[in-house]
């Protein structure tokens, strides 16, 4: 049995809110978000660094939160799907996923939207190839990706000048 290890105090900004908590060193970031902060929009799909359902932004970069320890996020800014909307208004990416039917069961959708968010923050006019590359780490087993591509293209259009 592993010996008991003391919890570690971490300070993380999650969706703009500062959070200070004591966590087990072995706790994964995704467990921290879901179980400590009740932010259950971030999903656990494969838990093997494959599917990308757990994708969040860490200091603006898309990362798989099942493959980072919560203690590693100390001092970082994390954005989850709950942080995309502002003042009760859906983010243009969220709206586009709805308008273009970019989801079916929805399990992978939060991760896909955060991957799209990193892409569009760095590339305002992505080509289809750019989009495919940006979401290659997000597995979707329903849509066949066509409407996901359309949704991200639509989001890019709607975000022009934003």
């Amino acid at each position: 049995m592993p010996e008991t290890i003391e919890n570690v105090a971490i300070k993380v900004s999650v969706n703009g809110k500062p959070r200070s908590l004591n966590v087990e060193p072995r706790m994964l970031l995704v467990e921290f978000l879901r179980e400590q902060l009740d932010l259950t929009g971030t999903h656990v799909g494969c838990d093997t660094t494959y599917c990308g359902a757990c994708t969040v932004l860490m200091n603006g970069a898309a990362v798989k939160s099942c493959t980072i320890f919560a203690v590693q996020a100390d001092g970082a800014e994390i954005t989850t799907v709950e942080g995309l909307e502002s003042a009760g208004q859906l983010h243009p990416i969220q709206k586009a996923f709805g308008d273009a039917y970019g989801l079916q069961c929805g399990y992978c959708t939060p991760g896909l939207m955060l991957s799209a968010s990193q892409l569009l923050s760095r590339n305002k006019q992505p080509s289809e190839k750019d989009i495919r590359k940006a979401i290659a780490g997000n597995t979707c087993r329903c849509t066949g990706y066509q409407n996901v591509l359309k949704a991200i293209q639509l989001a890019a259009q709607n975000m022009k000048g934003v």
Binding site: P25, D47, T48, T49, Y50, C51, G52, T55, M58, A61, A62, V63, K64, T67, I68, F69, V71, Q72, D74, S115, Q118, K133, A134, A136, G137, N138, T139
Partner: protein, 278 residues
């Protein structure tokens, strides 16, 4: 610190291999030392005809680096490793220090004159990459050492390289890969480096394939001879990614394409390359 913690301590770089291995209990280190909070470990510098990468430089940083873009083979590799999320975390130093037989960086960097700087309690050592990679998951690092920098000598201008890896989907390791670097004089190949990945316990440098090109005009015949030698040099295992025979055939095809692209690049042509997957 590593000395104090003993042999059951592991260094955590990007964590994109080590954390999954820990979840599978293939690795159960008693102590993890996270290197990510040490400042000044992520950089790309050009100095005295060499590119120097801090050990914690992320794959994505190499992918978007103007300095690294001068060697397109580095971009081939950096832009195709796994997916965006993994490239945002995974590091060049971590990849080399892990020495996974299916890792991308070691294969690519063996075609260049690459050295790694290892810092230990007794000072530092600079080790040529081929001596650093000892075996599968085994490097020349001593228990009290950490890989701190990767130093790549910039090859002559008439040199071109290419790295091609075939994988089943974005997030997985390649089934096979091939890295080629050729230095040309007109249409004659002066120097050749051909390294095969994922088809042995370490990257395999195929001397016979290199000999088949060195001093030759790059004709279809010369390429075929190099491909045959590369196939013979491969030592693949059958596994879930494919049978040994399949991988041997695949690596030959990758070598052929990589030679063709390396020739074009040596001639100053821009060719875009990334990992191939269905």
């Amino acid at each position: 610190m590593l000395l104090q913690l003993g042999e059951e301590a592991k260094l955590l770089a990007g964590g994109q291999s080590l954390i999954p291995l820990m979840k599978l209990r293939f690795a159960s280190p008693k102590h993890l030392v996270d290197l990510n909070f040490i400042s000044g470990t992520s950089y790309i510098k050009e100095e005295n005809g060499a590119l120097r990468f801090g050990a914690l430089t992320r794959h994505a940083e190499v992918e978007y680096s103007a300095s690294a873009a001068k060697l397109p083979i580095l971009h081939d590799c950096a832009s195709g490793i796994a997916d965006v999320q993994v490239r945002n975390r995974g590091t060049i130093g971590g990849s080399l220090a892990e020495a996974d037989p299916s890792g991308d960086w070691a294969t690519v960097l063996m075609t260049l004159e690459t050295e790694v700087r290892c810092l230990g309690t007794k000072g530092e050592r600079i080790i040529p990459l081929p001596e650093f990679i000892r075996d599968a998951y085994t490097t020349a690092l001593l228990p009290d050492e950490v890989l701190s920098e990767v130093i790549i000598k910039v090859p002559p201008r008439a040199s071109g390289g290419a790295y091609l890896a075939f994988k089943r989907s974005a997030p997985v390791y390649p089934t096979a890969s091939a890295a080629v670097r050729l230095t040309m004089e007109g249409d004659v190949c002066k120097e050749a480096a051909i390294v095969l990945g994922c088809v042995g316990l370490t990257p395999i440098k195929s001397n016979d394939a290199e000999t088949a090109l060195r001093g030759q005009r790059i004709t279809e015949k010369a390429i075929s001879a190099a491909v045959e030698s590369a196939r013979a040099a491969a030592d693949p295992q059958s596994d879930m990614r494919g049978s040994a025979e399949y991988k041997r055939t695949l690596v030959g095809t990758l070598v052929k394409r990589a030679i063709e692209i390396a020739v074009q690049r040596a001639g100053g042509k821009q060719v875009e390359v990334s990992h191939i997957y269905a």
